[in-house]
């Protein structure tokens, strides 16, 4: 195992990234430990995820469903899916700011490339997501709208979502380390984006008011749609949605690469 570090070496970052991906045992284990820690000493543990989701859907679902004249049978899964995917996206931006900061003790004394801590964050934030998806499936079964085809068709969307989120987490983990205000600012901005994205509000309501552009220009809407649309309708999302997500991923990765190559060496000094 040869390692070469040079001030002018351009391929080191790429080698570190590949090495990190291969160290899946390390980041997966630490990620799972994070999840365990979150619910240690809690009586019902991860069931809290389901309870919180249930309370949210119960309260918002009925009120907004009636307000917007939605059929609850379709609206409840819609609301849940949007909320669950949103949670994961928001973690990839806000929580990502702490990725390197909270791993300071590790980064300063172990030799592994620091990208393993980015992957670890993705593992630990996936717990809520997986539980949430399971809850959606249960609700769908209960309402009699569960379709296996829909869930299978959501797989490409889920993959795209995770690829995009890996990019997000990378960008914000580096920027959050260098600019400690960023996570706070982002939390505020995302609050606004949450209400502008069709999650609580059905997209059709915005469309009927001539506000279609509000969500069409919002990449987060498309990230949600590639997962939500197939599960709800048992058919693939419009091709343009996949295209937009793909384009978004390209842009995100270009930014991620730029940010990482500028800050990667500095991170350890910024902690």
């Amino acid at each position: 195992m040869k390692h070469s570090y040079s001030s002018v070496d351009k391929s080191r970052l790429l080698r570190d990234v590949i090495r990190s991906l291969l160290l899946h045992r390390v980041w997966f284990f630490i990620g799972i430990q994070d999840v365990k820690r979150r619910y240690r000493r809690s009586f019902i543990g991860p069931l809290w995820i389901l309870i919180n989701l249930g309370v949210y859907v119960g309260a918002i679902g009925f009120v907004y469903g009636v307000m917007f004249g939605q059929d609850l049978k379709a609206f409840l899964p819609y609301l849940m899916l949007g909320f669950v995917v949103w949670g994961l996206i928001s973690a990839s931006m806000v929580d990502a700011g702490m990725v390197f900061v909270s791993a300071e003790g590790y980064i300063k004394q172990f030799s592994y490339p620091k990208q393993i801590y980015i992957l670890r964050a993705l593992v630990s934030s996936s717990m809520n997501f997986v539980m949430g998806l399971a809850a959606v499936a249960l609700v769908q079964i209960f309402l009699g709208t569960f379709e296996v085809t829909g869930w299978l068709l959501a797989i490409p969307g889920l993959l795209l979502l995770y690829i995009a989120l890996l990019g997000h987490t990378t960008i914000f983990s580096y920027l959050g380390t260098a600019f400690r205000d960023l996570p706070h600012a982002l939390a505020g901005v995302l609050q606004v984006v949450f209400y502008l994205t069709p999650i609580v509000v059905p997209a059709s309501v915005l469309k009927n008011h001539g506000l279609e552009f509000v969500y069409l220009v919002n990449p987060i809407y498309h990230l949600i749609e590639v997962v939500r649309h197939p599960i709800l309708t048992a058919s693939l999302a419009p091709l343009s949605t996949y295209g937009l997500v793909f384009g978004y991923i390209l842009v995100v990765y270009c930014i991620a690469w730029y940010v990482a190559s500028r800050l990667d060496k500095k991170v350890v000094f910024l902690l």
Partner: protein, 246 residues
């Protein structure tokens, strides 16, 4: 079999401290006014360091506090990137730098052993196989089931030390970590450390203990203000170093 080595060629490490404290807003304000950051500073932690250490060598590092010993070890470990020059290593690097940080406070001692083992390059199977031995060495018994936030400083050291010395190192980098724990543990640790240092195919360690350096290293490097002052036989280097401090 491949030969292990550490080769540094004109390595320099320069810290810049201007982004440390003032975050986004300060950065934007400075960008607009075009002035440099208030209190911006640079530290030349290492300057033009060229060293070649080949398989089988044991090298000591001496120098005053702040001379660059830890920085040099961190460059060898791949934790700090050189800001100039090239650093190359061949072999699995095992750093032993800090025993008081890098714990998951809310997790049990046992889970912390697992995490530490993974980060030092052990496989999960290896860790499980060595777990009884590691646990025994720590003498922490029941406490291994408790979250480590309940541990005392000495208990952290026991845990970290036991894990770090249970691996098979190729390149072993040690930063002044002798004298761990209470009297009983310190004695036990010393013996284990000596065994451990014998195993490493390459050993680089910093110390202020001249007897230790003389007994372990044929070669010693003397650093001062980030530069190599002398690189040669341990006896010679220590003699010069001692006379310079008088």
């Amino acid at each position: 079999m491949t030969q292990n080595f550490i080769r540094l060629h004109n390595v320099g490490v320069r810290f810049t401290g201007d982004m440390n404290t003032d975050g986004l807003i300060g950065w934007l304000a400075r960008k607009r006014s075009g002035e440099s950051a208030p209190g911006a500073y640079t530290v030349e932690a290492l300057n033009d360091v060229t060293i070649a250490i080949e398989q089988g060598e044991r090298v000591g590092l001496i120098g005053l506090n702040g001379a660059g010993k830890s920085t040099l070890l961190k460059v060898m470990a791949g934790i700090y990137m050189p800001t100039s020059g090239i650093a190359e290593t061949e072999g699995h690097v095992c750093p032993m730098f800090e025993f008081a940080t890098g714990f998951e406070m809310h997790q049990t001692g046992r889970d912390n052993i697992r995490i530490r083992g993974l980060l030092l390059g052990m496989t999960p199977d290896e860790i499980e196989a060595k777990l009884p031995e590691i646990e025994e060495f720590t003498e922490l018994g029941e406490f291994l089931k408790y979250p480590v936030r309940t541990y005392s400083a000495g208990m952290f050291i026991r845990l970290a030390f036991a894990v770090s010395t249970s691996i098979n190192p190729e390149i072993l980098l040690i930063d002044e970590v002798m004298g761990a724990g209470d009297i009983r543990f310190a004695k036990k640790a010393k013996n284990r450390m000596f065994e451990f240092m014998e195993q490493g195919k390459i050993l680089v360690f910093s110390s202020h203990n001249f007897d230790l350096l003389k007994s372990f290293c044929a070669r010693t490097i003397w650093l001062e203000k980030g530069r190599i002052i002398m690189d040669g036989g341990t006896e010679d280097v220590i003699a010069k170093y001692e006379s310079s401090q008088r």
